[in-house]
Symmetry: D2
Subunit: 483 residues, 4 copies
């Protein structure tokens, strides 16, 4: 079946998911369930901080949500009816656990926890200033900068200090914060990363995606708006607009790949958008063939849309082995080459002698595409046509997505025809940028387009202060943050 | 994507898979890969025994293949160019590791290892006789009986003793055995469980399914015939027929659910057979509806066949969370009820207001079906029609499939209409027994039918000696073997 | 044999040991060996930070030195020819690892690591001031205060900032610090905790005790003086005296129990001092008896001194089971009572019918003494006389020793005669305070005595600012630090 | 303090300890305590089997007793008021757990468990015969032979079959067995290994040493006699003498080193015997010196006896580090050489300028002796005299003690003078064989001596059938058993 996308070495990866809830008993248990539904946004570490009326018990660890929060002792320790949580990709080594979020700090006025989805683009510059003032940083995350800006703010309450801190940062952030009896959600003025508001009965909930509302039975109310701060307090949801307004720049790749297909974003069904993209792809670049085959696991909706539009029959031509751990080692070269089949196998009866259309959502380095085309040929395919439901990914993301350096992106180095030869397909086509906007209900992309599509266009909507002229001393920091 | 079927509490479970190879360097590494491809036939324990010209190094453990054989040290220890392996469901506690196969024994004439897929139905009776003669049993598996029958046989070489032992046993068995420079495959005279022969270049290979040939790049030659013994020795494949012939009784459920869809059995593509069953189901019991939805993960091919035949559009209406571990604990009742959504979520945009046809491959206890129908209703389905690509499962299997006792099978207790009410669907239909045979290319089921369909009909082709009149002292044994 | 004192629930416990070395290849490996020799000063956590010319690789973990630093991968990562290390008692939970030393901070001017043996007595007061200025604390240790004081100092180089910070703190500290190409050692002006300087060839070494010099083959040069700061740089040892001088107040309990018997302190052999204390005890309070028995494991030297002075024969009357783990659980009450014998057994042939003198070094809560006297009686002792080689421990330590609250100290609650009745001995005597000073070569204790003996006298040489009038908000902090 | 002897690479090692109890509730918990007290007889694996009136629950694992039986769940599973247990050295790999005792078998007449201390010397010969009859061996232990001999015996009850089996075996064995409501103890006719009988109230207990009685508060009644079988049943102790009588040949090394000093054997205090041996050593080979120093951990009683006899003062000149794990790895050669000090340190104040007498109990390979003499010299000893409280160990043991092959025994290769030069001492003396017998209360060793002293004399009291002319095929077996 269509699964939420598992680890694939040759995909871009969302770096984080956040969740918060105020009011119910067992708040932390609800957060654990919410994080479980957001596991596709970060599989290597997770954390929860709750507030029990006095203390802020917390638990953070490397691993998956079910393992970290599967212990009754852990869950019992996370008392209170307010809690926030975070899933992320972890770095390695000792640094790792220090970097796991939510971050927590004890200010003069009390405890405060913060979970961040996104990436700040002037954190290093701010960090240098803060260190000069005597601030000691404990982690290598950009997020800690926000905490120190709050600690050294001119005073005021939590909200005042958080606003003062955020006015100084640039970049993408969807934050969920926890203070005393207070849960706060914020999206940066461009609204790059998602954040939705739901209600579980009378209790407000914040989450990166609607699937995290579904799992706890909460109702999807609306997306938090770009630049909006929502303050959940005593069952009330207060909306603030503390920042200068900016054009909305929601990440278009959330539709293409990152979000779960059963989520809704900006009111759209992600699955439906993906089918429409597949249909548009068929309109733009159809080819005479016998079978449309999705590349597992995420290509199914686009492939179904393509098949419906083109009238070519849809079948599962690649079968995934469900039991793939990450530890299998192949001891000899000979075996290592066989090893590419550990994960997938051709459904030979449906490939042999057929002209095949493969539908995938993106090509990053191209390494997986090469192997899948080869697998089709080995299984006897007469022709192999590759169709991609995104434009060529030619630029890195600096707003919270784990992308290789630009120099490793296949589309940065090669033309489409060169890429076709590289992956060994008979034909290769990507959806056009305008086609993508069409599938999303717009006439075409234009200057005022509402999405961030920098990974296709290099058109970065928010300044890249740290990255444009990094000081030598920062390179290590940037590298580590990326690791 | 369609994955090989993961753990589902309400499915029947294949109990074992076997694999053997003679000739290549790194024989054990090839066996590890083969077992990995057979992981769906047994996920809780695995073992490999190799022959290095002098010793029979072995490694058996609880866990999945990738974890058990992912260590270089382990693989290096399994020297030699002949090896066999086994995957199985394990029992718990100290007994567990003793029961993990391949079994190994040192006979007077040398070492011998044996891996068994199936279940013997007169093992207890034989065991009582052997104990009376002074034999000491070390495991609680039926398979050990074969070893003791060989040890106490009247003499002769390995083949003579194995034949003499097997002539005394009743039940289902596909065996792969390893002697000095010899790999042996045998199927019982009814051929209940599968076993195929392949060639990796000049090296013969035996495996439960063809997918295990695919993963190592071996070619599928043919199924080992019911009652056939194949002896692989020095690159030669010798075929013996040491048993009285009997009508072929291949397990029909392998086509419906157990085998991987990308396997071939008796020359048929399993995926294709499942699509045909789905189409036949649509012919027999179609209903006016808006969408055909497969029940994850195994219902996809039948649902595609149903959709194609009926002309109703196919979509993924249930999205699986890829990151489901088994350890997630829900600390409160309230959370526990939410917990049913840990694994699946409705693709709400495609359910709301729709008349839904759900296609699943079987109903065992019915517990999952109840929850899936409820999930459809919660997501706003107007009507929910359940279609099952097998006849009602009303009898237990004694030939190597883990079935609940008859009393727990929903179809044993309830009529189809009662089952419909139990699971809460608007309609419920199973494929007919004749329809199933039709999908397999036969006119209908008749007395001479070539499949074992006892789980639907109670028509057991092999005597159930141990089970018909168990002695009180054996009940514990039978229970333990089943645990 | 006499072992360095293992875990005993009824002893005071040293809280930390420190070690540093500058110059040799494999500096971290030498630190690991040194910490291993200091393991008796802290068994629950350890850490090492090295400097490789650019970075400060580090490894800290809960557990014993041999386990933490027994991995080649870990040791390889700790590159460089300068390194410092720390052993300590750990707290539990997530806090634990954050509190493991050496602490590390990146200042504006570069990295800096610090390992602390001792305890500050005004850390909370300073912490409140720092938090008000916007400092964020990450651990609950008093030691972090020093780091923040350095970060917010008026500037200058590492030495300047460290001196400025230490001028503000009160309490006991022996520090070993690591900067770029620099190892620094400091003792507080009263010199409460030990710190010695050694040379390994041309490379200077700092350690809590001389046994850590022995293990690496280094030569013992001298004790770092109270109030002295030694700066190791490029093979040079520079001595600074940046603090106001104060009377020396070395911890007298180091001689009695904490230090290893094979260490030298202030030029004295600890073993020899203990024998002299035992001899003085015999002079003060001998009794007619048949055998002198040391209470394992630390009572041997004092018992030998006692036996030699009194002429009564010395024998091992209590045999320790070497294989005592900490995890043995006794499932029933009946067994639990038996369980006191898990660790020790009477050497019955030497007890039965004998008048026994037991020599121990201290009585804290008295729980172990009760059991040992009972064990002697059970083994048939005719009389049991207990002799203690320290004065009654009636006051808590605030300078780095883990003592129970005053209310739990047996000597705080009971007179000597009441204590005798409590432990069930026929007689009980402690060495006199003057006798203790005599054994150390002084005529008697007087106002100008050079040792801290507050645990016997309540005469605290350094102010207890945090403890005298704790604010309600601090109680939690103090408790946690103590946990 | 004197500890029961820890792991020392250069000592002979006892291979097993056994324990059994019939009657009390929590029988298994008492066995766990007893095994804990016997841990010095085997530290690498342990097992317990109990009888609960119907089943024989069991738990066996690699590790130490406290870890294996420290879990409440494990202890709860070992129900019943009869239980036996075993500690042993384990082999490595998969074989390991199969070899952990007690062995268990289900005979026609019911379950039976057996724990063995000792070693059979004709097990391989018997094994060949049994395999020829169709017996399948599961372990590589000699002990399994007894089980198969019982299974194939001519019938009769448990006692009859056990006697019939034991009449066929040669070698050393102290067995504790468990049948239905029955615990059985047996010593071989020569009584090589110890076995004592005690009473815990009305419940009889069997143990390898009296310290295992002490820990549970049981009273020592008597040693089981050589060739005696004691049957514990319903609170009765029945004594049988089923074997031909033979001269008693108790292992003399139990007195010298193996047994705990607080044990009694044949009515003697082991500690007292060791002191007498030390005194005899002083009589035979005293030398003018300043200090007598025991080699830790086992040399203390002999050193005390030596000091008392010679009038030279006794002191602890070598201090052991209590916290030595087994995992410490030294990454460089330079560090590796330092590493000899991980475990011991010279008490320099007592060595420098002194003439030292070191007292140790044996020299096996001599590797430790070399290092200890060197440590004394490094600490400034003027003279180093080594005195050994056993005669030269020149022959291997085949009766249950782990000895190196004869070729690796220093005393097999070198004369005493050559040994002195090898270890670098100024003088070296061993106790004489007659002196040893004197310390044990005999006039001298003569032909009718009651001890097995084969390791000193090569005078083996029981035939070495398997070892005298091993068939090539057995060499592997013998090696594995020894591993």
């Amino acid at each position: 079946m269509l699964t939420t996308h598992p680890f694939d070495d040759d995909k871009l990866r969302e770096e984080c998911g956040v969740f918060g809830v105020l009011g119910p008993l067992d708040a932390a248990a609800l957060v654990a369930l919410g994080l479980h539904a957001l596991q596709h946004r970060g599989q290597e570490a997770a954390g929860i901080v709750s507030f029990d009326g006095r203390d802020f018990p917390s638990h953070r660890a490397l691993g998956q949500v079910g393992d970290i929060f599967g212990s009754e002792a852990v869950m019992r320790s996370l008392k209170g009816n307010a809690a926030i949580g975070h899933v992320r990709y972890a770095t390695t080594g000792e640094t790792a656990v220090r970097n796991v979020q939510p971050l927590y700090a004890e200010f003069e006025f009390g405890g405060f926890a913060l979970a961040h989805n996104g990436n700040l683009t002037n954190a290093l510059m701010l960090r240098r200033q803060l260190v000069r003032r005597g601030c000691l940083f404990q982690s290598t995350t950009d997020t800690e900068t926000i905490i120190h800006l709050m600690a050294t703010a001119r005073g005021g309450n939590v909200i005042d200090r958080l606003v003062e801190a955020l006015r100084q940062v640039e970049g993408a952030y969807s934050l969920v914060c926890l203070g005393k009896d207070q849960v706060i959600g914020v999206r940066d003025p461009s609204g790059v990363r998602p954040l939705v508001l739901g209600m579980l009965g009378e209790h407000p909930v914040l989450a990166s995606e609607t699937v995290a509302l579904d799992i706890i039975g909460a109702e999807y109310i609306r997306d938090v708006a770009p630049g909006e701060m929502v303050v959940l307090e005593a069952g009330q949801v207060q909306s603030l607009r503390p920042f200068q307004s900016a054009p909305s720049k929601f990440c278009i790749f959330e539709y293409i790949y990152f979000a779960r297909p059963d989520s809704f974003m900006e009111g759209h069904s992600v699955y439906e958008v993906r089918k429409k993209i597949g249909a548009q792809l068929a309109i733009e670049s159809n080819v005479d063939a016998d079978i449309v085959i999705p590349v597992p696991d995420s290509g199914v909706p686009a492939a179904l849309g393509y098949a419906e539009e083109s009238g070519i029959s849809f079948d599962l031509g690649i079968i995934r082995n469900h039991y793939v751990g990450r530890t299998f080692i192949q001891p000899t070269d000979k075996i290592r080459r066989l090893g590419v089949k550990l994960k997938h196998n051709a459904n030979r009866a449906y490939i042999q002698g057929k002209r095949v259309i493969l539908v995938d959502d993106s090509i990053v380095r191209g390494t997986t595409s090469v192997k899948i085309v080869e697998m089709m040929r080995d299984a006897g395919a007469k022709e192999v046509h590759m169709r991609i439901s995104s434009p060529p990914t030619s630029h890195s993301c600096f707003y919270g997505i784990d992308t290789p350096e630009k120099e490793k992106l296949l589309a940065h180095k090669l033309s489409v025809e060169e890429m076709r030869r590289f992956i060994g397909a008979d034909s290769l086509a990507f959806i056009s940028l305008d086609g993508l906007y069409k599938a999303l209900g717009h006439a075409k992309r234009d200057a005022g387009a509402q999405y961030c599509d920098a990974c296709f266009t290099g058109d970065y909507p928010i300044p890249l202060t740290d990255f444009e002229a990094p000081r030598p001393a920062d390179v290590h920091q940037l590298a580590e943050r990326r690791a």
